[in-house]
Amino acid sequence: MSAPGGGAVLEVRGVTKAFGEREVLRGIDLSVREHEAVALIGASGSGKSTLLRCIDLLEEVDDGDVFLDGETITDPAVDPIAVRRRLGLVFQAYNLFPHLSALENVVLGEMRAHGIGRAEAEERGRALLARFGLGGREDDRPDNLSGGQQQRVAIARAFAGRPRALLLDEVTSALDPELVGEVLEAVRDLKGEGMTMLIATHEMGFAREVADRVAFLHEGRILELGPPEQVLSAPAEDETRRFLRRIQAN
């Protein structure tokens, strides 16, 4: 295993997490290098969301550590707020703020967490929304947007804080099939500009296309990790094959 900071933006080492008796993560080791996109695949309940939430310090890990740019962020002495300001997280269910407009959703963190003035934050926010195909929808409330549009606002919101890495938690799973493409397009766009990303996903085609490496998570462990053509096309583990067959059957 490489030393923390050896080119890795994110490094997860021996992380375990249990909710009561239920062990969700049973010792995860994973790193994401600068400009790299790593796809996390695995059945529902395999621990993908929990791992992302642990990295963003929304859950406390039981054992092991997470490093961000070589710094141990899971150290109890570290201020979680400062860490979250360096990361972006996009949720499966968007979790937009329903009482705020699209633009206000995007600029809230910039203004309150990063201390950027309203004028500058709004200018950047408008540019970001336009970039993700939401020009003209700045003043709409989330209620008035389609699921795909909401998720793109959520991506803009996570990206607005200039994160070191983006964590995407099954960002297309709550969408109608015809809306999946526009959200994946936004992620592709971010990958194109070199965003470092950890992407939990059920979209195997997308993982193959965008991810530099794919990690197969099974019952709280990473069973297989490698380039997409290897993990998705010629998996070494029986579990991975079974999972891919099930996914394809759907």
Partner: protein
């Protein structure tokens, strides 16, 4: 050109509507008319009309009762603002998870249990007569202030629980999202959770204010000349209850509009149709 089928349906719909209106009108006449007949033909009605609905007494007493009612209005306006603030503070303290706030949290629980558990009239009495009896310097002895204080304590306990229910009803994902964009717990509460919670609990909050607007009359037991007390005084001089009816109308003049606002906020289900 609409099809014949459609015309048929529309005609049927119109028939149903007309039938509904006819039934509503008929049952209103029967029930309300019946009640009116029952009251108007009762043996005591002429006397009741004289003692409760005397137009001369009404005209005579209304200006004084209305003037006294102005005190009620002032008390509940001030009390409402104080209740909104105190209730929110108590709710936030109860919800806070910080270990340092443990003693305050305990106090907040006791506050709610205590002031929600004591009958409001008893609380007005205890504070109105108890606080002056302590003979502390610096404490107000004005019964209006003490009475309003008692109402604030009682209603803040209710309102704190309304706020708390509202805050707890905001989905956990909202807090997660607020933290994920880098907000502190306090900022998440202020900018994300509270605005949603308050919107949700606005109707029950207003509902509590309808109750408060009437309960201001309880302060009369401490002596201030508010509408109910003024009406009672005139009643004892004239042996006629009409001033109390005048006071009732004044209370209705503020509670009914508030209730209609509550209905509006709750959607069309509450409105009279």
């Amino acid at each position: 050109m609409p099809s014949e089928r459609r015309l048929e349906r529309e005609a049927a719909k119109r028939r149903r509507r007309r039938r509904g209106q006819a039934i509503a009108a008929l049952s209103s006449v029967v029930i309300l008319g019946g009640l009116a007949t029952l009251i108007l033909t009762s043996p005591g009605w002429p006397e009741v009309r004289e003692t409760f609905f005397n137009w001369e007494v009404f005209k005579e007493s209304f200006p004084d009762v209305a003037k006294a009612f102005w005190l009620d209005v002032k008390i509940f306006l001030v009390a409402e603002v104080a209740i909104l603030a105190v209730g929110l503070l108590v709710a936030l303290v109860r919800i806070a998870r910080s270990a340092a706030l443990f003693p305050l949290r305990l106090l907040a629980v006791v506050f709610v249990d205590l002031f929600r558990g004591i009958p409001t009239i008893l609380l007005v009495f205890l504070i109105g007569f108890g606080v002056p009896a302590l003979q502390l310097s610096n404490t107000p002895n004005d019964p209006i202030v003490l009475g309003a204080f008692a109402l604030v304590l009682s209603y803040s306990a209710y309102v704190a629980e309304v706020y708390r229910a509202g805050i707890n009803s905001v989905h956990r994902g909202q807090r997660d999202a607020a933290l994920a964009v880098g907000l502190t717990e306090g900022q998440a509460m202020r900018h994300v959770i509270l605005p949603q919670a308050i919107r949700r609990v606005a109707p029950p909050l207003l509902n509590d204010f309808v109750a408060l607007q009437k309960d201001v009359a309880l302060i009369s037991i401490l002596g201030p000349l508010e509408a109910f007390r003024e009406a009672q005084i005139i009643e004892s001089l004239t042996f006629n209850f009409t001033p109390l009816v005048a006071a009732a109308l004044l209370y209705l003049a503020v509670t009914v509009p508030t209730a209609r606002i509550v209905d509006r906020m709750g959607g069309p289900e509450g409105a009279v149709r």
